[in-house]
Symmetry: C2
Subunit: 317 residues, 2 copies
């Protein structure tokens, strides 16, 4: 019999977003240990590192060593982040990563200026060349991402109509280059989202793009992470980025309190309690969260790793 | 002009629930300092201490000294918790507290047995005597509370219909004694609630009791606190218990990971972003959260105290 389960897809970003922001150096062997443990939990997509300038992000200087050291598990996609052609070439050279092309536009011109020193037109104009770079390497371009889709520390609230416009721009740019986007990511880069804003922006993007899947990249800086995720689930969003134990944060958002992505195991707990499948063993994932905490050597914000799941309690009754 | 603002009422329980669970002794003067600071934020109801057996809860042995030491601010209700007539008499003797009678039933017989060594019939039968005790002191009985309304570590999931039945029982008991309950509290004592469960239970209780207000007492043990609060707000609930900085936890739930109530300032942030009034100065409250953290001497879970509010960012743009 075919399963008709309602399934949520999670991209684990803890090893990449999480370790990047840790002040102390994390041993390569510890990064690999966590990645290999995560791959045993049922997670199907793990972003393992960033191929960025080692002078700018010293914590990611061991990107090649991390990828070379992990034990690939069949069915698990290992991916990485890069910011330019040099980074992409390093990722290609590992021969072990799932490579996916991604377009990125910024809903905040002020943040784009700070982050990339470009204006919105320049950022748009840079995308076709990016697609051609991916095409030259035979890498599919299926994802478009809107940075700061819900608000920006340097620009304030973002009109939802602007996000809808940027999504349309990206789809058009991709089509013009012979590509077809199938997933649009909305990034709450500086944690301005609240659940009502999630509902409004997601709803407007869905109305204009009924033929495409959405994903949410949420930060928990202001404590709204899980409420926002639930709002997304309620709107039918089924793709989420998350970080085990709540590892991480965005070092470029210039924000002292920048907290990490939503916590993977807390989000998986929510999904399972809602009757949504994730394919993930929550108890094994909570064990990974405790491992992450022991690796970084300080408390991490996830709750289930200490609070425990209800499935575990129910099983004991 | 009359205001028609949609208003949320928050009972601050940090000084009571929060300090109760702290392992180290908290100086009476620090408790008073936090309470006085909280009273300056616009909070209208602060639960300041518990009149319980000093041998059982040593951290509350200074209950009288705390109440005597605070500087009452006009318009702020200072309340306390007690578990029996002796505790009530101590609270009365302070002559400084807003005294309110409360009925309590348990949705979990197993938890009631562990906590009070009673069965549900005994607990029901104890309520009329409780009302008469309050009546003898001229104290109104307006609130009924359902403990473990969403699930129990010792009994598992709780059928929502049982909660509806208990609410009906409490209202009937009160009426039989000439009292009329105007507020029903639903307690997620052991953090089993998820937003869909909040919606289901709140909805069923509202359907059966359209003439009464509901309040939610939520714990964040599994990271669902704010998502649950949002679900409650969406259902029209306008009364919430919360603890500044996320102080606290329930020492009687026998649960290692028991986390505190939802964090007051994170919840106020959510309310304000949703356009709901609280009458509270969020920046002053975040300052109280930092004070609470410095008093307990370890990190507390609230996010806004480090993440900052959006109003503050918007004001700087």
């Amino acid at each position: 019999m075919e399963t008709t389960a309602d399934r949520v897809f999670i991209k684990e970003e803890g090893p990449r977003e999480g370790f990047q922001i840790e002040p102390g150096p994390i041993a390569t062997v510890d990064k690999i240990r966590l990645i290999d443990a995560l791959a045993q939990t049922g997670l199907r997509h793990i972003q393992v590192t960033s191929f960025v300038h080692p002078g700018k992000v010293p914590g990611m200087a061991d990107a090649e060593a991390v990828v070379a050291g992990l034990t690939p598990r069949p069915g698990v996609h290992y991916s990485a982040l890069w910011l330019n052609q040099r980074g992409l070439q390093r990722a290609i050279a590992t021969h072990r990563l799932t490579l996916e092309g991604k377009l990125t536009l910024y809903a905040s011109a002020a943040f784009l200026r700070r982050n990339q020193n470009r204006d919105p037109a320049q950022q748009r104009d840079a995308q076709p060349e990016l697609i051609r770079m991916y095409q030259a390497h035979g890498i599919p371009v299926r994802t478009g991402f809107v940075t700061a889709a819900f608000g920006c520390n340097f620009e304030g609230d973002i009109p939802p109509a602007r996000v809808v416009e940027l999504v349309g721009d990206m789809r058009r740019i991709a089509r013009d280059q012979g590509e077809d986007l199938s997933l649009i990511g909305l990034g709450d880069t500086m944690a301005w989202a609240t659940p009502d804003r999630i509902r409004r922006v997601v709803g407007m993007v869905q109305d204009a793009n009924p033929d495409i899947a959405l994903s949410l990249h949420l930060h928990d800086t202001r404590g709204m992470g899980l409420a926002n995720a639930w709002a997304g689930l309620e709107m039918g969003v089924r793709h989420f980025d998350a970080a085990v134990a709540g590892l991480g944060g965005c070092p470029f958002a210039s924000h002292a309190g920048a907290a990490g992505n939503i916590c993977t195991e807390d989000f998986v707990f929510l999904c399972h309690e809602l009757g949504l499948e994730t394919g993930i063993d929550l108890e094994a994932l909570a064990e990974c969260a405790r491992l992450a905490e022991s690796i970084v050597g300080h408390p991490l914000p996830g709750k289930i790793k200490t609070g425990g799941s209800l499935a575990a309690l129910r099983a004991r009754l």
